[in-house]
């Protein structure tokens, strides 16, 4: 009797679980539904996920998925045509554009700033670093937090005698590109040494981690660590960020306002192919580490429904979508750039 009752309970429980699971799975795609697959940068991934969720609510017939695998892999998959769209924070190089047999339309979608995040228990208050000092930290020349050159810039802080543990990206990454591009612009020695790229030979003591989330998590868990991440990731984990010295010599904190002002002051340089890099932006209040991020679309899609759905989504992201950037910690495109980007989307067939 007892055993039978248990069996009955198990059956009822199982049925309950199953129906719960069924209720949670999204509705089966209706006829005429379109599925779009994308992959690439981790930097804008939280914003893209948000856009996809919002757009999906309004357009249930369009199913979009985005895999945050890093810009380098995003470009590779885009070139291999294994996705419907790619995403990259380093756009595409001239050589990669030549390899794109199916053509490539680069659409800037949002801007963002990089933060140099750190983890120093017991150190309160903003830490300031000059251009020469943070370059030398990345070069592995300054090895301790209580180095006189750091202390000199922050006389009010009591810095611990701790090794600086650099944290960098392991995978091929557009965030690394933006960071190294800035260091090359700021330092002659960096340009001749490690240079600019999606992968950099960091000093051998550097810890490496996968994706922006990996770097941010590693910094969160390691004392004395120091690394570069997209600003939103640092904010979400509550990591303290460094006030950086800009080209004009001022110390600027990474924030939505400083990022927007920097972008607005520098978009005038936007080239026709929309590949605008700002390795060392101008302006009194400019924050030095800023980057745009791009969606990579093909010139022509054989499936007309797919092409229409993709254009619909990207155009929406460039107009409606921009209103959600700030809440996710990104910097919306200026109106002029958004207009140029929408015009680029219209070229896709």
């Amino acid at each position: 009797m007892m055993r039978r009752r248990i069996l009955l309970a198990a059956v009822i429980g199982g049925v309950g679980l199953m129906s719960a699971a069924l209720a949670q799975t999204p509705a089966v795609p209706a006829a005429g539904a379109v599925a779009l697959h994308g992959a690439g940068a981790t930097f804008p991934a939280p914003l893209y996920q948000k856009w996809i969720a919002l757009y999906g609510k309004e357009h249930p017939a369009v199913h979009i998925d985005y895999q945050a695998v890093g810009s380098g892999e995003g470009i590779q998959r885009f070139l291999a045509r294994s996705v419907d769209f790619g995403a990259s924070d380093s756009a595409m190089s001239d050589q990669q554009l030549r390899q794109a047999k199916a053509g490539a339309v680069l659409v800037p979608t949002t801007g963002s700033i990089l933060a140099l995040a750190y983890n120093l228990p017991g150190v309160e208050g903003p830490l300031k670093l000059s251009r020469a000092v943070y370059t030398d930290i990345f070069l592995g020349k300054i090895r301790h937090w209580d180095d006189p050159r750091i202390q000199e810039l922050n006389p009010e802080l009591k810095l611990p005698k701790q090794v600086i543990t650099l944290v960098a990206r392991q995978d091929s990454s557009g965030t690394t590109y933006a960071m190294s591009n800035h260091l090359s612009a700021a330092s002659e020695e960096w340009r001749r040494g490690p240079g600019t790229g999606n992968v950099i030979s960091w000093p051998s003591v550097t810890m490496t981690a996968r994706g922006n989330e990996g770097v941010a998590g590693r910094i969160k868990r390691s004392w004395g660590s120091f690394g570069y991440v997209e600003h939103g990731y640092a904010k979400r984990l509550g990591l303290p960020v460094i006030h950086l010295q800009n080209k004009a010599g001022r110390y600027v904190a990474p924030s939505f306002e400083s990022g927007r002002a920097t972008l607005a002051a520098n978009v005038g340089q936007m080239p026709a192919d929309l590949r605008l890099f700002l390795p060392d932006p101008d302006g009194e209040e400019a924050y030095p580490l800023i980057s745009l991020t791009w969606l990579l679309l093909y010139d022509h899609y054989p499936d007309a429904a797919k092409s229409a759905a993709l254009k619909g989504f990207v155009s929406w992201a460039l107009s409606e979508g921009q209103r959600h950037s700030e809440a996710e910690g990104y910097i919306p495109l200026t109106d002029s750039v958004a207009t140029l980007a929408r015009a680029a989307v219209e070229r896709v067939r």
């Binding site: 892999e73 701790q162 543990t165 790229g197 992968v199 051998s204 810890m207 868990r221 004392w223």
Partner: protein, 325 residues
């Protein structure tokens, strides 16, 4: 006594009859299956080596032996070297073997040499074997959230006090060699302990009684009679434990810090071959995959060499301590 012919016996259904043709077939069949299983293992190992070797061939001819002695892993510049990973693999495994081996053998002695009532010893043995059932990712998480915060103050105190000693020359920031080696030691503990227990239990009880009869103390009997007699089994336990430590992946990828440096410091982040493979394969391009295959081949070679050396040592120990067999 009436003689019964062989033929008669064969026909009768007596149990003592000669084997029937069915028995012969069964015997032959079983023998064939046993042979095939043994041969399959050899074929499988050969196939794995050939497959990895074949895929690594382009990298081997391109980078040569320099691959094993250089320190940079840069996909963009297509420069690959795995010396730091080889160093990290051997260093972390040796540390783990030192700790895990010591504790494993100590536990084996404690459980077999009448320190505990037999029932209690059986309970302890089960608990230690349960350690082997914990998934390695759980060990990794435990290392990150429990072990590292516990270890950090101790490590940083050691660095402050004895920073001059190369082993303590850096502070522990988080992931690093020390937490990785400690977790690795715990992971190989059940292997070492349970095989050592079996080795010690195989010694007939009268050996110990004879030792006592000659007037040894308990510890003299354990250290001078029991351990040498079980030496080959205990060495086998250590070799297996070391092999497990060399190949351990997930927990190490989470704890060791992925830093391509060669440092004696116990608190510096490092990297291992298995961790490199695990963390780089998912999105490696074609060129990197070849280099990773070469690295996998190097790991395989290290494991084979360790096992061969272990076997040689075991043979030597058998000859020395247990009469020739």
């Amino acid at each position: 006594m009436a003689s019964v012919s062989f033929e008669q016996l064969k026909r009768s259904d007596s149990v003592s009859g000669p084997p029937s043709s069915g028995d012969y077939t069964l015997d032959r069949g079983f023998r064939a299956v046993a042979w095939a299983s043994a041969a399959l293992i050899l074929v499988l190992v050969a196939y794995i080596v050939l497959e990895i070797g074949g895929k690594a061939m382009p990298a081997i001819s391109q980078y040569g032996l320099g691959f094993l002695t250089t320190t940079e892993w840069n996909v963009q510049a297509e420069r690959f070297g795995i010396l730091p990973q080889i160093w990290g693999t051997l260093y972390s495994s040796l540390l783990a073997l030192l700790l895990g081996g010591l504790f494993g053998i100590a536990i084996a002695i404690f459980l077999t040499q009448d320190f505990l009532p037999p029932r209690l010893a059986a309970v302890f043995r089960t608990i230690i074997e349960l350690l082997a059932a914990i998934p390695s990712v759980v060990f990794g998480l435990w290392g990150i959230y429990v072990l590292i915060p516990l270890l950090r103050p101790v490590a940083n105190w050691l660095h402050d006090v004895a920073g001059g000693i190369p082993f303590f020359s850096t502070s522990l920031s988080g992931p690093g060699l020390a937490p990785a080696a400690l977790v690795l030691a715990i992971m190989i503990l059940p292997t070492v302990a349970s095989i050592s227990v079996d080795a010690l239990r195989q010694i007939p009880y009268k050996v110990k009684e004879a030792a006592y009869g000659m007037g040894t103390t308990r510890w003299e009997a354990i250290l001078k009679v029991m351990l040498p007699t079980a030496a080959s089994g205990i060495l086998a336990a250590l070799v297996l434990g070391f092999g497990r430590a060399l190949g351990e992946t997930m927990a190490l990828a989470m704890l060791i810090g992925n830093s391509n440096q060669i440092s004696l410091s116990l608190f510096a982040p490092a990297n291992t071959l298995a961790a490199l493979l695990a963390s780089s394969f998912p999105e490696a391009g074609q060129v990197e995959i070849r280099a990773l295959m070469y690295a996998a081949l190097a790991l395989l070679a290290i494991t084979l060499i360790v096992n061969a050396v272990g076997l040689a040592v075991m043979k030597f120990a058998t000859r020395k301590f247990e009469a020739e067999r």
